[in-house]
Subunit: 308 residues, 2 copies
């Protein structure tokens, strides 16, 4: 019986100007998963700590992703999965994506890597759909590949790995309130002004160019969301306070992580990042809402083995 | 009296997925301008060949751009300008931008380059506005800087020079019909579906990533315009014929140049480019509409001195 332990990272989707197309991978926040190859066929979730999630594989994000992979590979064995959940469900930093990504990565590895990591994305998306109601890749792609990822399109799925400037760090502040994803989707209009779409395009292009050239000032000028943030920010208590504080302390940009409630910042160098995190922490205490703050480099690697 | 002769290149704005934010510079199509420093202050357009354009500086694209520059520099001299127009007005490949760019580039050079080429863009935009009714940079930026340019934003103007893969070539087919820019603007909606904006974003991101990595297949997958092309293509007789023919013969992508009527293709390597050009030429003859076809590398340099 082969067993592996995996670190399954949290991720930030959208990244301001990249609504529904960009995502990035974090390094210091993530679940731990233990995947064991067994002689008994099928997938069994044999333990979950840190969250109240279904053990039944067909109802579990990791289980569904794993089953989708097994259906194609048809191996003569099965897998037991243990999940130590550290990313809170509903936090907006890719909790379900981490589980889906970890499951397919682990099984693929135990079977000798029949698929490339990129090829695992569609299987992880099937797991992700259990939690979010639709197949999307903006969290599972960075969770698997690491770094920044661009979803160029879905028909067919086309994921582009973008480079990560070496001094790029993120903070995440997670106000512990519940935001219904369905409600956050409902605030989105079906139509947007062409002018705003053009402005957003310019910023997305600028951000991508900034990533390729490690031009932090260009990244700073590009990290704006004129489309979605104005509609969703009001649902996150203290969003403006966080944003103002982080920018004042040197953040390159601040935005909603996924559909919230977590808010991320991107920053140049670790010192600035700690300053930003500390200032947000100080300031957010005033709201009386419980919260957590994380600091992380933008990870160049996604799901990875933990050496035991 | 110092005199310089300049090549002022044609440009392609929009480039399919980059509506209002992207432009590229051509190499083999362009005007010639002769700029002479004189003791008499002010700007005089002393000759124009190849087009019926106003000689009065205040009504001429090159004149207005030049005057805007002189207003800031206040030199103790003036300039005579001769324009040999080779890019047809109204062709959709940046005819007015070439004149505006050439005028400011030439004067700046004769004065010892007080401004960087990038800093000249706002002055050229003022000239461009005479022709198009509004200040925009999607043609003057590539005409001045060469290569691909991204307009990240206008407030303030933020132009990003993007790299050009070495084997990237363009063709341009110019059906000699008249399209009113005002009419082409009128077909644009003020609102567009959010879903289309997201798909377009993905493609723009993919194209930019493809330019940085010389990934021609990614460029191919990204060269789509789901927003503007469907609305404008019907005004260009034979657009579908051109597109189908070019794609069949290996073009990476096909789109409307600016607001038309010219249609551009991007292609990998010169051989394919000639094949595409030849096939379009053969096919378009069937329409009975007079036209011209050009082949050019995507130029890495913009306006430049012609050695005499």
């Amino acid at each position: 019986m082969k067993t592996i332990r995996l670190f399954c990272p949290a991720t930030v989707a959208n990244v301001s100007c990249g609504f529904d197309v960009l995502g990035l991978c974090l390094d210091t926040i993530g679940d731990e998963m233990i995947v064991t190859q067994t002689t008994q066929k099928g997938i069994r979730i044999i333990g979950i700590t840190g969250a109240d999630l279904p053990l039944k594989a067909a109802q579990n994000v990791a289980g569904v992703a794993a089953m989708a992979l097994l259906e194609v590979l048809q191996p003569d064995c099965g897998f037991d999965i243990v999940i130590h959940k550290k990313i809170k469900a509903g936090s907006g930093i890719g909790s379900s994506a981490a589980s889906a990504a970890g499951a397919v990565f682990g099984i693929n590895m135990l079977l000798g890597n029949p698929f490339s990591t990129k090829e695992l994305i569609p299987f992880a998306m099937k797991g992700e759909a259990v939690a979010s109601g639709c197949e999307h890749a903006d969290n599972v792609a960075p969770a698997l590949l690491g770094g920044f990822t661009l979803i160029r399109g879905y028909e067919p799925l086309d994921v582009v790995a973008l480079p990560v400037p070496s001094e790029l760090y993120a903070t995440v502040i997670h106000p512990q309130i519940e935001l219904k994803t369905s409600e956050m989707r409902a605030v989105l209009p079906t139509q947007i002004p062409l002018k705003k779409a053009i402005a957003q395009s310019g910023n997305l292009g600028g951000l991508i160019a900034g990533l390729y050239t490690s031009d932090y000032e260009l990244i700073r000028r590009s990290l704006h969301d004129r489309i979605v943030e104005p509609l969703r920010a009001g649902y996150i208590p203290g969003f403006d306070l966080i944003k103002e504080t982080a920018l004042q302390h040197g953040a390159l940009g601040v935005g909603i992580s996924g559909s919230g409630p977590s808010v991320f910042t991107l920053n140049k160098d670790l010192e600035t990042t700690h300053k930003v995190a500390f200032a947000m922490e100080q300031k957010y205490t005033e709201t009386g809402i419980p919260f957590e703050v994380y600091v992380s480099p933008v990870a160049t690697r996604g799901v990875q083995l933990i050496n035991s």
